[in-house]
Subunit: 322 residues, 2 copies
């Protein structure tokens, strides 16, 4: 905690801060300050110490440290608890453990890298350390299990909106859970549910975002924010922006219902209006038609060539060539 | 295992079995047999030992021991693994732990008593030791989360069918999860879900059945099989019958789809055709009308007085007086 207090003081001063000032501000000895400054340096903070002038923060490490995430975040619910790991097999599995031990809504699990990162249906998510953003978020909306897919929509909207704010680029959502730009996959969302038939106990939203990866290191069809923009991207700002946008979209959903979510989702959708092909995993037949809308439970409405409209809740979608 | 082998031999003989016969049959010493017989007596088996004649099983304890459940069960999936506890806070919580550690489909958790037995929406289920049947069953159907409520229907049908077979009495299902006779609640079902948006990971079906309870010890409106029939009921036979009926209904659903389940459910339904009142927990309004049918996702269709039909997925139902 003292480390964070020192950081706060250093960050609020553009110039050097004397050891004496920190010492009297925090009520600890100058020797103690020196020790804490060493700890911060070990975490990767570049702090200059100039005789007679004092300390100055030159740069922060490229890490998603909890106090950095919370710094100026100004959320009241999302990410109020943060658990940080250098590496995890999967943030989803860790989040499921936290759900079992009844972690509160808004708990965020973040890992700098995942050794067994996963996407939908057990597929792998390439998660090299410090390259991407990998998190799982625990929420507990009082909704029916049937409504849970709406949280995938909310998450996708929050990611697109945050990326737009940070980078000025329009990203698009491929139903149900992929974030694309120029038809390349930048991010994926995985939503898991624990529920009674009447009521959701917890939803875990997982996200993997390719930030500073090279395209060559990613699966075919994938890209990263760095490849798209041509420059190294600050992961922390992106993550904070996503968490802020998520909170806004989520509270809007809880307070005003699903309609605004759907309207936001339609705005970012790449799928609506396209001719699509689906191999459903609950039915044996293939569905081909035009994706015409999304419904209040996150189902995709596809108008078949016969004129009938089919509602699809699951499966892999292929956008047919225009 | 030797205990169970000895039990098998004793059960297959109506008369005494000599120590020598058991000894040669199992390839262990007569002293060892004596030791195992003592262990069985400690478990509550009444075994007579007559000089020159040998051993005879007089009675088995009133316990739901795993080898007793499996004896002549003849299921291939349901209850192939059984975990038995004298007492648990809740079989549901224990089952959730087994799901986390990836227990296979068909795993059954049974407790002779529960200290924190629960029903829907966190309500208590009175679970005195040796009086009722309290179990949780882990299944892993490859279905959409939306279809999970069908498993509540299957469970309710299995319990009604088993009770009919064992006791010759028609029990009825009050939507969504209560088993009644003469309008008194005999059993309840609690269904919990862990899932991705596309696919169910596991469903835990919990059941509490009042067997040898006195009506005075139960909440208002509850009764027990003993009160209904006027005699003490063998819990083991009831449980085995439920497990057999569940397997049959469940495999039928997996192989042939939901239609036969719905038709079975309609047969046992107390709710269909009744005027009902519902306080939904997802909407603020009250629904009043006639319950006309159940749909393929377990939703109750209620024809309102306006002529419109509303689909209800959750909530507490009140059957209006005829």
């Amino acid at each position: 905690m003292v480390n964070q207090d020192i950081l706060r003081i250093l960050k609020s001063n553009l110039e050097h801060v004397s050891g004496e000032e920190i010492s009297s501000g925090l009520g600890i000895s100058r020797a103690a300050i020196w020790k804490h400054i060493q700890e911060l340096k070990d975490l990767g903070y570049d702090i200059a110490a100039v005789p007679h002038l004092g300390y100055k923060l030159l740069s922060s490490p490229d890490k998603l440290l909890p106090w950095e995430i919370k710094h100026n975040l100004k959320n009241r619910l999302i990410a109020r608890n943060i658990y940080y790991y250098e590496s995890l097999p999967s943030t989803m599995d860790k989040a499921a453990e936290f759900v079992s031990s009844n972690a509160p809504e808004g708990t965020l699990i973040i890992a700098e890298g995942q050794t067994k990162g996963r996407g939908r249906m057990g597929r792998a998510w390439v998660s090299p350390k410090y390259k991407g953003i990998y998190f799982s978020l625990i929420i507990k909306p009082k909704i029916l299990p049937q409504q849970a897919p709406v949280l995938t929509l909310i998450s996708a909207v929050a990611i697109c909106r945050a990326l737009k704010q940070q980078l000025g680029i329009e990203f698009q959502i491929k139903w149900p859970n992929d974030i694309l730009v120029n038809n390349k996959k930048i991010a994926g969302i995985l939503t898991e549910l624990s529920a009674e038939m009447d009521i959701v106990h917890a939803i875990i939203i997982g996200a993997g975002i390719n930030v500073n990866n090279t395209e060559a290191s990613l699966p075919d069809g994938g890209s990263s924010l760095k490849e798209i923009t041509g420059q190294k991207i600050n992961r922390l700002s992106i993550l904070q922006s996503i968490l802020r946008c998520f909170e806004k979209e989520y509270l809007q959903f809880l307070e005003q219902g699903v309609e605004l979510t759907l309207s936001d989702w339609r705005h970012f959708s790449l799928t609506l209006g396209r001719r699509v092909k689906l191999n459903t995993n609950d039915k044996r037949h293939q569905i081909i038609g035009e994706a015409v809308d999304i419904d209040s439970e996150g189902g995709l409405l596809v108008r078949l060539d016969s004129g009938l409209t089919e509602r699809v809740m699951a499966g892999d979608i292929i956008h047919c060539k225009r």
